[in-house]
């Protein structure tokens, strides 16, 4: 039997050969070292190619539809860490830095006084140990307090070692935030962040894309769009002018289900623009449905490509209209 060619080896590894042919290859490989090493190399190539291709799944701004549904949630919670909690963490870092400096200073100082060397070395280290213990305990308390009550400013005194450096970070009241440089300010009025994307098919063969955005921690809105076939190939040359028809509709149960339990029906920071279209007479007004989901509003519109959008959430119609401009 001749040596195996690359195609046969790959087909054999992929299990794509007919049973008879596969048996021949098995027999040959048992005898031919050269082909056996070619198989080993091919296995390496297959694994390496898979690994290389998997790096192409890293697309910075979208969520893969199915394989890891939990991953975006985890990322969300990491990014939506409350400002007080982050402040406490910053304080912890600064405090540890200060403690480090203190340790250094107190070790350095006795070295300059030979006559007190022995007792000074014991004494400062003991004090430093106490200070570290007290400060770490303090930071832990602050962190717990801050995470337990994200709106109240932390009232604890900073630890002695951290007093000079850390006070600013211990006052995380919302009123203090605007004084921060723009690039450091928490993004409470940032664009809604995509949390999940799901797809489903309607019985009449339309694809519905359902995206859940977080406006701010605990407040989520749902955007569903029903796209006509090949909508994206029909973009006009001019920017898309969206034909809005703001209506208060009975919320869909599915949309309401997506809202977090802690959702609060308040306006986002970026309130409705003065020129935003006001809510008109409800086209559909199901009192029963509205009572079932009080505070959930829905607006619908269709863009010039024919895609039908439904946006719902625990916000006023005006707030939803304002958000609409910031959504795709």
């Amino acid at each position: 039997m001749q040596h195996l060619d690359d195609g046969t080896i790959h087909a054999w590894i992929d299990g794509a050969l007919h049973a008879d042919r596969a048996r021949e290859v098995d027999a040959h490989l048992a005898e031919c070292e050269s082909c056996a090493s070619a198989v080993a190399e091919a296995r390496g190539l297959i694994a390496a190619a898979s690994r290389i291709l998997s790096t192409l799944d890293v697309v910075p701004d979208r969520v893969m539809p199915e394989p890891r549904a939990a991953a975006p949630e985890r990322a969300t919670s990491a990014r939506s860490t409350s400002w007080p909690l982050r402040a406490a963490r910053i304080a912890a870092v600064i405090a540890i830095g200060v403690i480090g400096a203190t340790v250094w200073t107190r070790i350095e100082r006795p070295m300059q006084h030979d006559e007190q060397l022995t007792q000074s070395m014991e004494h400062p280290m003991q004090r430093v140990g106490e200070a570290v213990g007290a400060t770490v305990g303090k930071i832990a308390r602050d962190t717990v307090a801050a995470s337990a009550n994200t709106s109240a400013p932390a009232t604890h005194e900073p630890a002695p070692a951290a007093r000079e450096s850390a006070p600013a970070t211990h006052e995380p009241s919302p009123a203090a935030q605007p004084r921060l440089p723009a690039h450091l300010a928490p993004r409470t009025d940032a664009s809604p962040r995509l949390v999940t994307t799901e797809f489903r098919m309607t019985p009449d063969a339309h694809m519905v894309r359902r995206r859940v955005y977080e406006v701010r921690p605990g407040v989520r809105i749902t955007l569903e769009d029903v796209r006509p076939s090949r909508a994206y190939t029909e973009f006009p040359a001019e920017p898309v002018a969206r034909r809005a028809e703001a209506r208060t509709l009975a919320p869909q149960a599915a949309s309401a289900d997506a809202l977090g339990a802690g959702a609060t029906p308040t306006m986002p920071r970026a309130a409705a623009a003065p020129g935003a279209p006001a809510a008109t007479t409800p086209a559909v007004d199901s009192t029963a449905a509205r009572l079932a989901h009080p505070g959930i509003n829905t607006i619908q519109w269709t863009d010039s490509a024919g895609t039908r959008f439904t946006l719902s959430g625990p916000l006023s119609v005006e707030a939803l209209e304002a958000l609409k401009a910031r959504l795709p």
Partner: protein, 172 residues
């Protein structure tokens, strides 16, 4: 009429991943996948569903590639605008971004048929399905895949070496 839910559930994720890897654009991939399923639902009978779906998706991508450049540019601009408006980017390390860029460049060095065969195989298509989707004989799929894998890995390693060389050069 097909079982809509089953078809969608079984093949949507894999088709979107295949198209995303191929096109490097999730929105485009989703649109092509959508149209593929719409076409599938209009089809009376499909013998091999997976091969059929990938074939239609490939044809739709090819059709898109033929469209005029102005419209494509317009679409790209809109997509970029949409991303800037809506989504806070996932944190992506420099290393991962470099890996992805090198993988994309290495992929582009492959002949189209080799590239598609490899991407479809990665999504679990068997040799018969790949042959059907690409109009190849089943016997030539092994050779196609062997060539594609080797070239991809060689190209990628060459790019890695180039990068390391540049890094060393910059450090010295």
């Amino acid at each position: 009429m097909h079982d809509v839910d089953r078809l969608f559930r079984e093949y949507h994720a894999t088709l979107v991943r295949y198209l995303t890897r191929r096109l490097g654009d999730r929105d485009w991939a989703e649109d092509v996948a959508q149209e593929t399923f719409v076409r599938a639902l209009r089809q009376e009978q499909i013998v091999n569903e997976r091969a059929w779906l990938f074939t239609v998706a490939n044809n739709l991508v090819r059709d898109d590639a033929r469209r005029d450049a102005r419209r494509r540019t317009r679409l790209t601009l809109l997509l970029e605008e949409e991303r800037e408006m809506a989504v806070e980017p996932e944190p992506m390390s420099l290393e991962r971004a470099q890996d992805a860029a090198m993988a994309r460049r290495a992929m582009e060095a492959l002949a189209e048929r080799d590239r598609l065969a490899l991407l479809m195989r990665e999504e679990g298509l068997d040799y018969h399905e790949i042959a059907e989707a690409l109009g190849l004989s089943v016997g030539s799929v092994g050779t196609t895949l062997a060539r594609a894998r080797r070239r991809l890995v060689e190209q990628y390693e060459a790019l890695q070496q180039q990068m390391e060389h540049r890094r060393d050069h910059a450090a010295s």
